[in-house]
């Protein structure tokens, strides 16, 4: 008996033998398989290789790129400081955004009418205005509230600070980016919470857990699987969005670059150096995201994916024939039938 399986023909049993007869675990005789020829793949490989080589040659030999100058600036103190500032802004703005996002997502499902409406309003307002406008707004907050007071309205404040001093350009930038991010993150967190089966909350509560404990110990860890990929997107988006803060003279990567360009007019190599720093930082963030995804996929996948470097290596070495999937006792459940999904 033979079965057609894609492009290969596999014999399920030996000549004259009944399937399943003989010793248990007997490897069935296999008719040799000749792989299908795919000339199109070779043509595509050659064409792309030629185009790629031409591109690299052009970039490498065009002296106007001024690679050596770009390299110098890449290593310069101003750009490194700028990159650090960009990183700091990203971390703080995302920290504010994620914290606010979780709070607002929980508020929107609280069941308390006013709390839900306030959360709705927050999301509506901060998603509805450009973040650049919000940065300007926080930057100019002193003209709206010259003094920031802490206390009961109508009485002498316990604490009063000058808004111009408290809200530095850096603070304004962080507030604007963080508050804006919180609105987007709340939707991501909400989607994550909704993705977890209701039975999980019920099971946790039937064990005597409070809603908050169940949320923290049972629902959120599972929601993380859904939350992390878009959050990675947001973080990388945020890293690049921080370039907007150069409008309020925060010395981030782009602002530092522009300062040097204004003095030296070496526009292209400086933009290359700045781009290189952005790419380095986003690459590191992507790697971190992959690590987090693996961490939170605990128990969710039968065969957890290899980290990207292993996958990359495997792809490179199996251009011709896919290697058989290695199955071990550890990854192969002895019974999978009747599972919940």
């Amino acid at each position: 008996m033979t079965v057609r399986n894609g492009s290969r023909t596999v014999a399920l049993d030996g000549p004259g033998g009944e399937f399943g007869d003989g010793a248990a675990g007997r490897v069935p005789d296999v008719v040799p398989v000749r792989p299908l020829r795919r000339p199109g793949r070779w043509v595509a490989t050659v064409v792309v290789a030629v185009l790629a080589a031409a591109g690299i040659y052009s970039v490498a030999t065009n002296e106007r790129f001024e690679w050596d100058v770009a390299w110098e600036y890449f290593r310069s103190e101003q750009l490194i400081d700028g990159a650090l500032m960009t990183l700091r802004l990203t971390v703080f703005a995302m920290a504010i955004g994620i914290a606010l996002g979780i709070v607002v997502a929980v508020m929107r499902q609280s069941g308390v009418w006013l709390v839900e409406r306030v959360a709705d309003f927050y999301v509506w307002f901060f998603r509805g205005t450009p973040v650049l406008v919000q940065i300007f707004f926080w930057y100019n907050i002193a003209s709206l509230y010259p003094d920031l007071n802490l206390g009961i309205p109508g009485m002498d404040p316990w604490l009063s600070v000058d808004a111009n001093e408290a809200i530095t350009p850096l603070m304004a930038a962080m507030l604007a980016l963080g508050l804006n991010e919180g609105a987007y993150m709340s939707e991501i967190v909400r989607a994550g919470l909704l993705s977890v089966d209701e039975g999980q909350m019920e099971a946790a509560q039937s064990l005597g857990m409070s809603r908050l404990r169940a949320l923290r110990r049972v629902v959120l860890p599972q929601a993380m699987r859904v939350i992390i990929p878009p959050t990675g997107n947001e973080t990388i988006g945020m890293l690049k969005a921080t370039a907007l803060v150069s409008v309020v003279a925060v010395a981030d990567l782009l602002y530092s670059t522009q300062v040097i360009i204004a003095m030296t007019f070496q526009t292209i190599p400086l933009l290359i150096a700045a781009s290189a720093w952005y790419i380095v930082m986003t690459t590191v963030l992507s790697i971190g995201q992959g690590w987090l995804e693996r961490h939170f996929s605990r128990g969710a996948l039968a065969h957890p994916p290899d980290p990207f470097w292993v996958r990359w290596r495997t792809t490179m070495t199996r251009f011709h024939a896919p290697r058989p999937v290695q199955r071990t006792a550890a990854t192969e459940p002895d019974q999978v039938e009747g599972g919940p999904r």
Binding site: D197, G199, G299, E337
Partner: protein, 254 residues
């Protein structure tokens, strides 16, 4: 007769305009296995969920171990209990769900120790030792470190039973524990439940397994359209049903 562990009096429950429970009263004595059978939509699962206050009743009262579920009695009126108190009382009632509801991001052992450590404040070492013993008791000593998705449905449900037992419950509620299982896996779960019944656990079992009810149940309750139609020993209800609706139901499932 001593005070029943579960005492249900004239309980009503509706979802919107859907009147699911229409005045149900039931007593379950200590050590008794009470099997609730009936067609789907008869309200039997809802009744079970009212016992541990996963659903709030619209009328009537439920006591577990002499304490009213979800409310405090102030003579002329009831007062809703604070959440803390609800959780504390719920912790003493074990529940096993149709779809297992194990925590998929935790191993079998972690599923078992989560609530004893987090809710009962047991020391980790003690909780883990007891969890291992419980897993061994349901025949899963070798699956301590397995994640739920690497277990069969029957194995998952046995872990779920052990998880509920880890809280040292006074009564166990089973909500159609074998309905989501492949036929060949039903037996192992029923066997675990039977062992539990033999050890004297008080159990309320909503089930479609008539054979289990006949063999293990001390009492069988037949529900239909939100009311208890008939109750008695398995021999009475299953062997010699008096009501037409019971006869009709048994004829269809038997």
């Amino acid at each position: 007769m001593s005070e029943p562990i579960v005492k249900i009096r004239d309980v009503h429950k509706s979802f919107g305009r859907n009147h699911v429970l229409r005045g149900v009263s039931l007593d379950v004595a200590a050590g008794e296995v009470c099997c609730v059978i009936g067609p789907s939509g008869s309200g039997k699962s809802t009744l079970l969920r009212c016992i541990n206050h996963l659903e709030k009743v619209n009328g009537g009262r439920i006591w577990v171990e002499g304490q009213m579920v979800g409310y405090a009695d102030h003579g002329d009126h009831l007062r809703e209990l604070p959440d803390r108190e609800v959780h504390r009382r719920r912790a003493r009632i074990g529940m096993v769900f149709q779809r297992f509801n194990l925590f998929p991001h935790k191993t079998a052992l972690e599923n078992l120790v989560e609530a004893p450590i987090g809710v009962l404040r047991e020391p980790r070492a003690e909780a883990e030792a007891r969890a291992r013993a419980l897993l061994e008791r349901v025949g899963l000593a070798d699956k301590v470190d397995a994640y739920p998705r690497h277990l069969s449905g029957g194995q998952q449900q046995r872990v779920a039973i052990a998880r509920a037992l880890a809280m040292r419950p006074q009564v166990m509620l089973f909500d159609e524990p074998t309905s989501a299982l492949d036929p060949e896996l039903v037996g192992e779960v029923l066997a675990a439940m039977k062992d539990l019944a033999m050890e004297g656990m008080t159990m309320v079992v909503v089930t479609h397994e008539i054979e289990f009810a006949r063999e293990v149940g001390d009492r069988v309750v037949f529900m239909d359209q939100g009311v208890i139609v008939e109750e008695g020993t398995p021999d009475q209800v299953l062997g010699d049903p008096q009501h037409a609706r019971t006869q009709h139901f048994l004829a269809r499932v038997g």
